[in-house]
Symmetry: C2
Subunit: 350 residues, 2 copies
């Protein structure tokens, strides 16, 4: 596109690119409290408006071979809501735009909308807009969610302090293992089709992997955690949702808060099916949990003085602690070794 200088996007990476493109932006309106750089933009309209947007393209963000359209709609909405919860707010409205090629029909869109509507219903969200147009190739979804939060209760990525406790909801790595299962079955199916040169009746074996598949295909945005924190009178000092893997998200918090951290491998919450399937695939389960992504759990920090409040909430696990920036970010393994935390999560620009 450009005749002269050409810098490959890969040299900057996703976040470097955004930073590069947006670094000279300044807010013009009083109503702009927080722009680029967090899960949501925060706008000052009496009660604060949270707004977040996701753009999902076929073959990159989803594979329709094993993703039913209803699940796709449901998941896309959940992923969007999750960003609002990650600010300690509640989603209220959703706007969906769809571009699709001619291979799709009305019933396909109905299924997609069924999933969107179900997610909205479960989270008390109104689907308030959107349009449908065409694309030359495949399906593209754009979702924008607006939510609200009280001024004093909005939680950014940038508030973590030395000695804070690092907490995470639910368990990690299951959605990634679910993806591995689906990809394996897809490969088996495609080989059968190649060998028989025709469509074959295909019976994937998903027994004992239900949880993994559900985590991949039907993730739950953690409204309950935001409510639990409110009930327990806990205001996290920082929060983010785990979409690209625990390591990546934790490094976001540390970078934006100018702190370091230590995470204890033995404290990372895992489901039995995740561990079992990782072993089956000969993968390190901690690596899956640290870098797998698609969990949509909430990762947050709380003040050490909130320890008593947080320690007995069963849906929340304390997995580490924040330390001074100069001490860096480490994973402390089960045998006591320390490794530098690295973001190896999913990179949408790879």
């Amino acid at each position: 596109m450009t005749e002269n200088k050409r810098t490959e996007i890969s040299t900057l990476g996703e976040f470097g690119l955004i930073n590069h493109l947006t670094q000279d932006l300044t807010a013009r309106n009083d109503s702009t409290i927080k722009g680029v750089g967090d899960d949501c933009a925060v706008l000052n309209y009496k009660k604060k408006v949270l707004v977040t947007s996701d753009l999902l393209t076929e073959g990159v963000h989803f594979d329709l071979i094993y993703t039913p359209l209803k699940h796709l709609g449901y998941k896309a909405a959940m992923v969007n809501f999750s960003d609002v919860y990650a600010m300690n707010g509640f989603p209220r409205q959703l706007i969906v735009s769809i571009a699709l090629s001619k291979r799709f029909c009305v019933e396909d869109l109905e299924q997609l909308y069924d999933g969107l509507k179900l997610a909205c219903e479960e989270h008390g969200v109104d689907l308030v807009g959107g349009d449908t147009s065409s694309s030359l190739t495949g399906l593209t979804l754009s979702l924008t969610c607006l939510g609200e939060a009280e001024e004093g209760r909005i939680v950014y990525r940038s508030g973590a302090k030395d000695t804070d406790l690092i907490c995470v909801s639910g368990d990690l790595g299951a959605a990634y293992m679910g993806l591995q299962v689906l990809e394996r079955e897809k490969a088996v199916y495609e080989q059968q089709v190649r060998e028989h040169k025709t469509q074959v009746a295909f019976q994937p074996d998903f027994a004992g992997k239900e949880y993994l598949l559900e985590r991949q295909l039907k993730p739950q945005a953690r409204r309950d955690i935001v409510e639990l924190l409110q009930q327990a009178d806990i205001l996290p000092t920082s929060m983010i949702d785990v979409s690209d893997g625990l390591s990546s998200e934790l490094l976001h918090i540390c970078k934006q808060s100018h702190v370091g951290c230590q995470v204890y491998e033995e404290r990372i919450p895992l489901n039995y099916q995740t561990a079992s399937m990782a072993e089956h695939f000969n993968m390190n389960v901690s690596t899956c949990a640290l870098n797998g992504g698609d969990d949509y759990e909430l990762l947050f920090t709380v003040s050490l003085s909130d320890y008593e409040k947080v320690k007995d909430i069963p849906q929340i696990r304390i997995i580490g602690r924040i330390q001074k920036e100069e001490y860096g970010c480490q994973l402390v393994t089960r045998d006591g070794n320390e490794f530098e935390l690295k973001a190896q999560g999913w990179n949408p620009l790879q």
Copy 2:
């Protein structure tokens, strides 16, 4: 995608499809004043929040052969702002998500952002978020604009009343003629490449067509009109922006307001270059103005009692009048014949 029943999207059309998919939606939150069905969703956060979203895909909504990326960014933002002005509000924040294939580089994105930023600067809008990820094919843009409006001054498509005057800003059809010029030059260029089997130095002849090209490549969202109406103490009874052609937009207003209309061909505002180029292409200039689209002018109705206020504003032309629904929607030609108005504008699902 679906084994059983299959209804082609073409049998419903774009608006029929959206209606079909969204007809059972109900608002759950007090903050939802207006959902699907207008240029913007209106949300009740003290001052009213306007929010609108556009999804643009390469090869459908834009052609990078003749659209510089800076212009693409500028236009995409303007189109988004235009929807906010069409509610009689002012855009405040913009969120942009981009999916792109590997053929793009950092400098390309810089140019795209330069255009976005310029548009934001001109309209006092803050670019508050967005992400960048990849697509398997081409470039996709998703834009969401938030704006504000005072409660009593929001103008919907549904408020037109019998005897209201129909007004439009600027002139119509020029952007469409600009597109024809660009498409012709593209065809000439491609033929030269085919004949010479190589890249050729190409010198398109755009003399005397500057206005047409500017209207197509660098449209202006009509903030000035919204301000003029405010200064003149005029509150339109209905309003929409002209993106798909005058006919199509006017029929939206009439359908949602349950009224009919008469538009006078001789009153439709045209630029000299538009008329001249239409003649050159052997096209009917009125047809271009009625169905061309991409004008981003504001089409609105005002009460007959506002005639004195509106008649002398040079940027606004009165082009017809609203009548009772049972009288239908007609174009009155220069020779006094009446034809039923039909929407033949751009259909993104064709």
